[in-house]
């Protein structure tokens, strides 16, 4: 509680959430960030599942889209943290928000698993079933992260 209260009263946090221009900029950065993050991850997962970008190897596609996945993650995390900070005490016991964060962390873990294994899967005659399952779980995790994200204001009224 002490930390949340301190964060919420931090001069920069108060300033950045205090005017229309800065507050709406945070939202714009958050949307653009997660569009890049989820869009890049989804294309990668669909490629591993065998339903996208078949003319390119999965490794080639990974080299192309993963930098944008990480860029999107950084943008969404920084803007998201600053929006969270302005209502930190309210998010402290907000279980919907906590679940969204757990889903997001799981999504990042699965993205790392996909990225690390793609060159290995590519060397096999066909992408193995377990790889397709991992990609499907990754895709579902990000869709679930968005669902829990929109549920935060819808179910708890915060944000």
């Amino acid at each position: 509680m002490g930390f949340s209260l301190w964060l919420q009263r931090n001069a920069f946090v108060v300033w950045v959430n205090g005017s229309v221009v800065t507050a709406s900029s945070l939202e714009i950065i958050h949307y653009v960030g997660f569009f890049l993050l989820v869009g890049a991850t989804a294309i990668m997962d669909l490629r591993v599942m065998g339903v996208a970008a078949k003319r390119q190897s999965a490794t080639q596609l990974a080299e192309q889209v993963f930098p944008w996945m990480w860029t999107g993650l950084v943008l969404a995390t920084i803007s998201g943290f600053l929006m969270y900070a302005s209502d930190a005490t309210e998010y402290l016991h907000n279980s919907v928000f906590h679940h969204k964060l757990y889903l997001c962390v799981l999504g990042i873990i699965f993205a790392v698993i996909v990225r690390r294994n793609v060159p290995k899967w590519d060397k096999l005659p066909a992408i193995p079933g377990i790889a397709k399952l991992i990609a499907l779980v990754s895709l579902v995790l990000w869709v679930a992260t968005i669902l829990w994200g929109v549920d935060v204001p819808a179910l708890t009224g915060v944000g």
Partner: protein
């Protein structure tokens, strides 16, 4: 034209679709989910291609290859996004058409961005053959990138422009 838009909005809002989403306790977040999932696929891949046209990002593959790889899901994302978007609109159509930010987004920004997007998808096949893209491709990528950022900005600003009750 204005009268037509108002009566269309009134009709959409009164349909089973609009009323159903609004009266349901669980439908609204799923409609938002549809819109945002579609946008992630559509805008996410648009921005990646725009940036590649601008010469930013991994250059092991050409812009033409990237465009080819994402093409099908790019448009699947677009269809998902407008489906979700139309359902969101149907819950409060009259309020939306009276909102200046929504009007600018739908009547100007989205059509312009879409035209530039389709143009770029065609042109990238010739511009994007080499690892380094020509200056005109960089400019076209930047223009499209800025247009999509304007679309997102106008969307975010809709609640800020909501008329006082």
């Amino acid at each position: 034209m204005h009268q037509f838009i108002i009566s269309f909005a009134r009709w959409v809002q009164s349909t089973h679709l609009g009323v159903g989403i609004l009266e349901s306790t669980w439908a609204f977040p799923y409609v938002q989910l549809t819109h945002f999932t579609g946008l992630s696929l559509f805008i996410g891949t648009n921005l990646a291609l725009d940036l590649r046209m601008m010469g930013i990002g991994n250059k092991n593959q050409t812009a033409a290859q990237l465009s080819d790889s994402v093409f099908a899901w790019n448009w699947v994302g677009f269809v998902i996004a407008i489906t979700g978007g139309f359902m969101l609109f149907s819950t409060a159509a009259l309020t939306y058409v009276a909102n200046p930010s929504f009007d600018v987004k739908l009547s100007m920004l989205i059509p312009t961005a879409l035209i530039v997007h389709i143009f770029n998808q065609q042109k990238v096949r010739t511009w994007g053959q080499t690892p380094e893209t020509p200056g005109i491709a960089k400019l076209a990528g930047l223009v499209e990138l800025l247009l999509w950022l304007s679309v997102v900005s106008a969307a975010v600003l809709i609640p800020y422009f909501a008329a006082e009750p």
